[in-house]
Amino acid sequence: MSLLSLKGVESFYGASQALFGVDLSVEDGEVVALMGRNGMGKTTTISSILGMVKPRGGSINFAGKEIVGQQPHRIAQQGIGLVPEGRRCFPNLTVEENLLVAARGSDWTLARVTELFPRLGERLGQYANTLSGGEQQMLAIGRALMTNPRLLILDEATEGLAPVIRQDIWAALRKLKAAGQSILVVDKTLSELLPVADRCFVLEKGVTVFEGKPDALTAELQDRYLGV
């Protein structure tokens, strides 16, 4: 059975419907890419999984349990770690406090996170709002890992970062994948995303329009669904 599976999820912002039936699944140990142009519902899908937007239709099943309608912190406690779009650390806390606040479970510790991201180890006492964009991104990933999630969700984790930093982040994600971490990742840079992903889902206007292996996503399909 899938670790995470969404079936026909429909979500609204007030009166306007954003998701019209999203299907998605992530197996244990798998890296799944969620793709689509701007405004097609990727972030709304993630918000719906976390319960920050309450879906009005469809079902979301995580680790064998229906999670639609639960409170966001309950859903997170069951093992979903979110790296939100735009990094969103706690700016008024230090790096160490940002990490320790989230700590849950025993596998991922401060020591392991700083081993994965040595830059964070050098800046433990610094405020999150004094970090560079890339470092904040590392902190956001580290914070999500500190909750020892069964599923890590990354929303636009490399957006707006320098190429060198992007490589660091992708290298870290590859390490996590090798260690068997299940990951759901949203990203726009296909050349970096596709080699890491095991499976892809493409959204268009709030509906899942493609599901398959990265190599099944031909240049023609890429142009049709993702080209600008």
Partner: protein, 326 residues
């Protein structure tokens, strides 16, 4: 030795002043100044309690006078019953022992703060301010209209309550008791702020959605902070009643809630010694200007305006720079 930060030095100076000035006053027989210092210490303790909710959690409670007054009434009512040899409800014996009174005050304030917090924390911003005010006013009017304990006229304590091994009737020993309680509360504040709970509380002030995304319920964190905050303020109320040997509904009034907020803003929000600096300035203004004009609060208002406009970190911020936790 590592260089001390300017805030640590400022804190040290304040702590030293608070200890040395009353000792000098005692040596020269000026007991009035000891009472003044005791007033500073107790108001600082009350504001320190509020600082847990307001400074760390960003919960602007405009109803903390309720807990201050409740603590005061616990001291007043227990002492009055004990003095008259009457039992309390259910035949429980009354007492004049401070430690017991403190325990009852703290527990009662915690019990009252729990439902008030649980209801108020469903709102935020200006609604939170108003709903905490509403609860405090309810308790205020209840006290005013309850003739058994003096109603509007308040309740006098015949003698100051007792503390084992200490002559509390003397100003200096009583001051030292209050100072020890303040020191303990400051330790509690410091430990809380440095703990994981403190970090979660500051995170909740910053962004509740992010906090729930890492699996922590912001509501519970804020509620616990609100309750602890009320307990500390309630303890200060019990001490205040013993200082004045008098309790009245004015301790429960909204002016008192406002005063506590003013102390924090004057001194420095979220800072360990903020309430202490605030209480010092407040009480000294009250004493120095209060002797010259009845309208001393006008000048305090000017100072407050100056602090809000030019020293957002409060007076401690002026001395020590930006707050560690901005």
């Amino acid at each position: 030795m590592a260089a001390l930060s300017r805030e640590t030095i400022a804190n040290g100076v304040l702590a030293l002043l608070l200890l040395v000035v009353p000792l000098l006053a005692a040596a020269s027989g000026e007991t009035f100044y000891i009472t003044l210092a005791t007033r500073i210490v107790i108001l600082a303790l009350a504001a320190l309690g509020l600082n847990i909710a307001l400074g760390l959690g960003g919960l602007v409670s405009f109803g903390h006078a309720a807990f201050f007054g409740l603590g005061g009434y616990v001291a007043g009512i227990l002492a009055t019953h004990a003095f008259n040899g009457e039992a309390l409800l259910f035949g429980l014996p009354a007492t004049t022992s401070m430690p017991v009174i403190w325990l009852v005050a703290v527990l009662l304030c915690g019990l009252v703060a729990l439902p008030i917090g649980a209801i108020s924390l469903r709102t935020s911003g200006v609604y939170f301010i108003m709903i905490t005010l509403a609860f405090a006013q309810m308790i205020y009017y209840f006290a005013v209209s309850w003739p058994d304990y003096g109603g509007e006229d308040g309740l006098s304590l015949y003698v100051r309550n007792t503390f084992p091994g200490v002559n509390t009737a003397q100003p200096l020993p009583y001051f030292l008791i209050c100072l020890a309680v303040l020191a303990a509360a400051a330790c509690l504040f410091w430990l809380l702020r440095g703990s994981r709970f403190g970090a979660a509380l500051e995170a909740a002030r910053q962004n509740t959605t992010r906090l729930s995304a890492v699996g922590i319920a912001p509501f519970r964190i804020k509620l616990v902070a609100f309750v602890i905050s009320a307990m500390v303020t309630g303890l200060a109320g019990a001490l205040f009643a013993d200082l004045n040997r008098f309790v009245s509904p004015s301790m429960l009034s909204w002016q008192m809630s406002g005063e506590l907020i003013v102390l924090i803003i004057l001194g420095g929000k979220g800072r360990l010694f903020g309430p202490i600096a605030g209480a010092m300035v407040y009480v000294l203004f009250e004493y120095a200007l209060g002797g010259i004009t009845e309208r001393w609060q006008f000048f305090l208002g000017l100072v407050l305006l100056g602090v809000v406009l030019f020293a957002r970190g409060g007076l401690l911020g002026l001395v020590a720079g930006r707050a560690r936790h901005g």
